[in-house]
Symmetry: C2
Subunit: 388 residues, 2 copies
């Protein structure tokens, strides 16, 4: 299948590109290197030594004898080039990772809030608009977030996959309706994914664009069977206070002897998935496209839920790391329960990588291996949700 991967240099995009290339698909990466540029701005770098795109692609060619193409293009800004590309390449699937994806970065300042909204909304809208203008029947697979739902909206009922059945009172009695789960985003970044949802719904209704939206949990892990084949293929590992996700930050902190930074009590329950499962989920989504005229298909892309404090304790037990409770910079409930439905991916064959199995591998093979690259001053999270 001819596949475009927008944001194919990123943490999820790069291993997805390799996985789909290995499976025999004709993959083209589109990326404007925005995350590498934000790294420069924030004066941080991936714990793992990521190679340049040219090095990555030539290493992949050598290792697999497969070619991945690369186009340097900003889909939020270069509409005409995006349109030409779609008209010329006629991809059958377009995987859309091309959004600013860190909640703390999106709350850092007016500049980063505005960049996140402007970039993410225009990226998604340009893509939908160009697909319609190019008269292309491509399947859009978009990376959403579990954060569109908020937590605990319907008590102890599991968070459903995108749509929820509700009843409304009318003069003729109660009616049942299936609606998009009400949005309750916790940051400007998460908010942009709730805006994406409404744009997908409109373009699916008006223009029959085929969309699958994947509401992903927090990703952990670094390597996939493909990225591990050559060091030049290694995936990025963010440990800084903006882009580092909680579990990967703990792994690195344990390796480097830094106390595990738990925000508040750590009673926040979150959904998780290993990066190896992310790439498999994307493949499953591509192989199960919506029909024209369907409303967007929505899957919850996660495999387990854990309380943050339990993860910290688990890693503390495995490694001897201490736990440090810091004031929570986010505006969120100090604790919550969480049950999430993920039947669709399981039914389509996903076999989850469980957290208990992979944790020590990550500590030993990734965090400890690159320990000399850690800049400890970049560990604290400094973005505040509200100015005090």
């Amino acid at each position: 299948m001819k596949i475009l991967i927008l944001g194919g240099d990123g943490f999820c995009g790069w291993p997805t590109a390799l996985h789909l290339s290995k499976k025999g698909h004709d993959v083209t990466i589109v990326d404007n290197m925005s995350h590498r540029q934000i790294d420069v701005q924030l004066e941080v770098s991936s714990l793992t030594p990521i190679a340049t795109m040219s090095e990555r692609l030539s290493a992949w060619k050598k290792v697999s004898n497969k070619k991945i193409s690369y186009i340097d293009l900003d889909i939020a800004k270069e509409y005409d080039r995006l349109l030409s590309m779609l008209k010329n390449d006629k991809p059958e699937a377009i995987i859309h990772f091309a959004e600013q994806r860190a909640a703390p970065y999106s709350m850092k300042s007016s500049k980063t809030k505005r960049y996140t909204v402007d970039n993410n909304v225009n990226a998604t809208h340009n893509l939908l608009c160009a697909i319609v203008e190019a008269d292309l029947d491509a399947h859009v697979v978009h990376l959403g977030t579990m954060g569109v739902y908020g937590y605990g909206w319907s008590g102890s009922a599991p968070i459903p996959e995108g749509y929820i059945s509700v009843k409304v009172e009318t003069p003729e009695g109660e009616l049942s309706r299936e609606i998009l789960h009400p949005a309750n985003p916790g940051s400007v970044y998460h908010m942009t994914k709730t805006l994406d949802q409404l744009m997908f719904a409109f373009y699916a209704k008006n223009d029959e664009v085929r969309v699958t939206d994947l509401h992903q949990g927090i990703v952990w892990g670094t390597q996939t069977p493909e990225t591990i084949l050559d060091e030049r293929l290694i995936n990025r590992f963010d440990y800084d206070g903006d882009y580092g996700t909680v579990l990967n930050r703990f792994l690195m902190q344990a390796a480097v002897g830094y106390p595990l930074t738990v925000h508040g009590s750590g009673g926040q329950t979150r959904a998780f998935i290993h990066i190896k499962d992310t790439v498999r989920c994307i493949e499953i989504a591509i192989n199960n496209p919506p029909k024209r005229g369907d409303k967007p298909h929505i899957f919850n892309q996660m495999t387990e839920v854990h309380k943050v404090i339990d993860l910290a304790k688990l890693i503390g037990k495995l490694t001897g790391a201490k736990i440090d409770h810091l004031e929570n910079p986010r505006k969120e409930a100090d604790k919550n329960d969480l049950v999430v439905e993920n039947r669709q991916f399981l039914a389509l064959g996903l076999q989850p990588t469980t957290l208990s199995k992979g944790l020590m591998t990550e500590v030993e093979d990734v965090a400890k291996k690159y320990i000399s690259r850690v800049d400890k001053t970049k560990i604290p999270s400094t973005s505040l949700w509200r100015v005090k």
Copy 2:
């Protein structure tokens, strides 16, 4: 009260500025003249001869002895100037009309779709972001649209004001929840107002920005008690296929002897409000602000519902105009029923201007008076919702 009116040169913005100035408020208009520039692009002009902003403001000074200030600023693009303005002027209320507001224009081409999304989303988000950065406790009054709801979602139950009560099943039994009414926009323009709603909800929650969102019906009429005081104060009257709204188009068509252009059967039921009531509603909203920490207040700003065909018949009866059924360029139900709640404005003292009373005044005093300015080639609606 110190009031900023963003988009204060427009069809709703200008009469609002005059009304609030007359009521003794200290009014500043902010506008980038985007609608006048789109007029140039579309080669159309207002049926009424609208004066320049300088002429408008000096006429108002002469007539009322009151000063309205004007700042030429694009809030979607000039964030730093917007921020400085808020910091310096410290307005207590900010009325936000600064969005591209024609559904047909928003569906005309990729360029106009993209402009509508980029302009409207960034205008609203820049405003919210700047209020937070300026640490300003201003009340934002935003012009939304009845079009966020779609039509007939809950059978014959009236469309509630913004929020709807639903029940969800949980393991502990049924829970009641009040949610934002599910969005079902019918055009890219209407979609942007559904995106606005989610941004308001987030900034009200995270930063306690005080927001009132007014979901307005289709506005008809031209003059208000203020715009009629001097011809240089006259309000704009759009009759072209993009910006003209259905009732004003019929009035002009009747005056000029053009058949009334009904799209499809005309069975579409829509909500209406006279421009005189629009300005009163804005005043009522300003005088009844939310408290800090409230979720956005949402009012339905409309006074009557009518089927399009019934309006055409009424005007046909009054004027002798013929009716012409054209193919509907929009993707919408050919007919629908509509019941809308508007109790909040009525409870706060709004006394509706009924359609039956004002219609012939509009035909005689506005449409017939400026008949020589009509360009009949601009009457047909040419934007298609779907490329055939």
